[in-house]
């Protein structure tokens, strides 16, 4: 189209320092997004390898490669890393930082230095989490949920892991705060709330959850630390406390945290589908407001994690009812995505493939979530492999696939290079197949009574467990192929154009990779974000 005017991209050195320091001192939202991505990518691979070790252990009954205590340590660390360091910050810290300011036509976030500070807090928390594995009396063995009373009594290194989660939560709060102020104050002239693209809308809802829910887990974890250090007795029945209260406080945050993971994922999918269908998104307002609805109702459903823990019947049916209500706005989104595709001219490119996979996997995860949310069935499958399969379908099949979709969608913009699309398609297919072989058998195993968090199992579960492990290796191979292809694209790929997919949002109006200040002249928005007709 237009001949490219020479400009300085954000990837080129431009700060006071050179090399790595140039990046570590940069308050540019795009660079901070990339730094989050590299850190999160590294932790993701550690988490994947830990998960694979668990699958190898479960390849045959009895002790295969590790004993029960090691297994307990590994599933705890896998959970802590994947939840607190990968999926919760994942999309908002990486792609939110990279693209939200550009999509609303701003030069940066509202508080750039606070943004960099959040990254450093994140790294400190991550280092603490990793250190907790190697110091003290062995890795924590409580599971990522740190349930009292076991977590107040076990001799393992719980305090450091809990401190890590606390610090990571602080980073999450500051990112959320930054995004809320940015979206309120820095939208381009003419961009009213209902002219804002839907990814920023999803991030806005997410940011409110981060802000309103994270302090609760913060104080809960502090109470847990105090309980261990000083015996204050909040969760110890011998001293008058109540362990169930810990579960309540924990899930008051940790259930909304699920929406911190999935809402930005839905936002990404909402960006990708109109672009590859070249069609205006169906039901713009419904999608935007359903994000808010999910955030709002999602705050009130935490009790469904505790149906078997001891609650009044009234509390249980209210929580169950509210859980079913959350399914409504989620379903609205799915209907709208499918309706957007209807009569569109669909281009089956890699980001679109991941998006379709997302919808498929998210629906399985969502529907199995409903069976867990109903009181009678939950008693049967609580704490079985069925639950494990369900939340991996939501977290990995949902948030993970959306992350891969976003990565392939925005990669040309981020680096100004293209990856090999054919290899990327093949990788997405392998990942999709591996994922289903890995997790689907766990639904069946769970229904048959295979408990979660066991390093051993009865012989009748062997077929399912072997199948699942094979799926794990296929998935791993797919991930390696995907990452390898992206790294190769980054160094050897051909130059990417300004707008390779024909997108309409503001990030596609600026050169790839974006200039340091994003826009030469501040954009003025007159049209709706998905104006394809």
């Amino acid at each position: 189209m237009t001949t490219t005017v020479p400009y300085k991209s954000y990837l080129e050195p431009h700060g006071k320092y050179r090399g790595l320091l140039d990046w570590l001192t940069s308050t540019d939202h795009k660079r901070i997004g990339l730094m989050y991505m590299y850190a999160i990518g590294a932790f993701f691979m550690i988490g994947v390898i830990l998960g694979l070790l668990m699958r190898i252990e479960l390849f045959s009954p009895g002790e295969t490669i590790m004993g029960p205590q090691t297994y307990n340590g590994i599933f705890t660390v896998h959970g802590v890393i994947m939840i607190f360091m990968v999926v919760i910050p994942g999309l908002s810290a990486v792609f939110g930082n990279l693209f939200m300011p550009i999509m609303i036509g701003a030069k940066d976030v509202a508080f750039p230095r606070l943004n960099l500070f959040s990254w450093y807090i994140f790294i400190v928390g991550a280092i603490l989490a990793v250190l907790s594995q190697f110091t003290g009396n062995g890795p924590p063995d409580t599971g990522w949920t740190f349930y009292a009373p076991y977590s107040t009594q076990t001799g393992t290194n719980v305090i450091m892991a809990v401190t890590a989660a606390f610090v990571l939560g602080f980073s999450s709060i500051l990112t959320g705060l930054n995004f809320i102020v940015t979206i309120h104050r820095m939208r381009a002239p003419g961009m009213t709330w209902f002219k804002m693209p839907l990814f920023p809308w999803a991030l806005y809802s997410t940011a409110w959850i981060q802000l309103l829910a994270t302090p609760i887990v913060g104080i809960t974890l502090l109470m847990l630390i105090a309980e261990r250090l000083f015996r204050i007795g909040f969760f110890d029945p011998a001293l008058g406390g109540d362990p169930i209260l810990f579960q309540h406080l924990f899930w008051i945050y940790s259930h909304p945290a699920v929406y911190v993971m999935i809402l930005p994922a839905m936002g990404v999918i909402t960006e990708i589908i109109p672009t590859f269908c070249q069609r205006k998104v169906f039901g713009y307002k419904a999608i935007a407001l359903s994000s808010i609805a999910i955030a709002g109702v999602g705050y009130l459903v935490w009790g469904h994690h505790m149906f078997t823990s001891g609650m009044s019947f009234t509390a249980r049916w209210v929580f169950s009812f509210l859980t079913f209500i959350v399914a409504v706005p989620s379903a609205i989104k799915v209907f709208n995505w499918v309706a957007t595709m209807y009569k569109g001219s669909i281009a089956l490119k890699t980001p679109f493939l991941y998006s379709v996979a997302f919808i498929f996997l998210f629906m399985i995860g969502g529907l199995t979530g409903l069976s867990l949310g109903s009181l009678a069935t939950d008693v049967h499958v609580h704490d079985t492999a069925y639950v494990v399969a369900h939340f991996h379908y939501i977290i990995f099949g949902g948030m993970g696939f959306a992350f891969f979709a976003a990565l392939h969608y925005w990669f040309p913009k981020m680096y100004g290079k293209m990856y090999n699309e054919r290899v990327a398609d093949i990788a997405s297919l392998i990942i999709f197949i591996g994922f289903n072989i890995l997790y689907f058998p766990q639904f069946v195993l769970g229904l048959q009574g295979m408990p979660r968090r066991y390093f051993d199992y009865l012989p009748q579960f062997e077929t399912g467990e072997i199948l699942s492990t094979i799926g794990g290796f296929i998935l791993f191979a797919g991930l390696i192929l995907m990452i390898g292809n992206l790294i190769r694209g980054h160094s050897k790929g051909k130059q990417a154009p300004e707008n390779p997919w024909g997108g309409k949002t503001l990030e596609w109006t600026i050169p790839s990779p974006p200039p340091i200040e994003n826009f030469d002249t501040p954009p003025v928005v007159r049209k709706e974000p998905y104006d394809y007709e």
């Binding site: 508080f111 609760i216 104080i219 909040f234 209260l245």
Partner: protein, 205 residues
């Protein structure tokens, strides 16, 4: 110099800065909100035991500290008005006075906690573990809540000292004082939380 000031003005958004501070204060309130929830739950279960625990607290010292914090909130508010009216020296003095009052609060708290420790009234002590269950929880809450509040007082003092230096080198000036306003807001938060802790722990017996 004027160039730097101009660049600074370019990205300046006082309303945005204040919005950010209010959101942060919101998260702090929720942090303590978790504790208020725990307090409510256990007070509901053990009303008599809480009564016995609360009788052990020193209402005089608590009242004194409440008065000290209320005055400090006033002085920090006055420092903001002072800088807005262009009186930098008075503003700095008032900020310093606020820090001093915060220090008085901490000294008081030191004596209060010290007396408790002297009488073996601290979580996990042999004496406390013999109490009724609700009273054990009460002392757990007392030390945890006032301890966390004390930590906020110390953070607030650091914030106020930073404000003092920024007033000194004129980063905070009559035209651009949103930073001091935010620092003041934080200090009011510290005060506000105490206003809730005081009746919950000391007065409701």
């Amino acid at each position: 110099m004027s160039d730097v000031a101009l660049k600074h003005d370019e990205h300046r958004d006082d309303i945005g800065a204040k919005l950010g501070m209010w959101l942060f204060i919101f998260t702090e309130l929720l942090l303590f909100g978790g504790l208020f929830l725990v307090y409510a739950v256990y007070r509901n279960i053990y009303p008599e035991d809480f009564h016995l625990g609360a009788l052990q607290l020193n209402v005089t010292l608590g009242t004194l500290n409440t008065v000290v914090l209320l005055i400090s909130s006033m002085t920090v508010a006055m420092s903001i008005t002072a800088i807005q009216k262009g009186n930098r020296k008075l503003s700095m003095q008032l900020v310093l006075l606020t820090v001093l009052l915060a220090f008085v609060f901490l000294v008081n708290k030191y004596f209060e906690w010290g007396a408790k420790f002297e009488h073996d009234l601290y979580p996990g002590s042999d004496l406390v573990l013999q109490f009724k269950r609700g009273t054990i929880i009460f002392f757990g809450l007392y030390f945890f809540m006032t301890g966390l509040h004390m930590f906020h007082v110390i953070v607030g003092m650091v914030v106020l000292m930073v404000m003092w230096f920024k007033l000194k080198n004129k980063t905070i000036n009559p035209d651009d004082n949103v930073l001091l306003e935010n620092g003041g807001l934080y200090w009011h938060l510290v005060d506000l939380i105490w206003i809730f802790l005081f009746p919950l722990l000391y007065l409701i017996t």
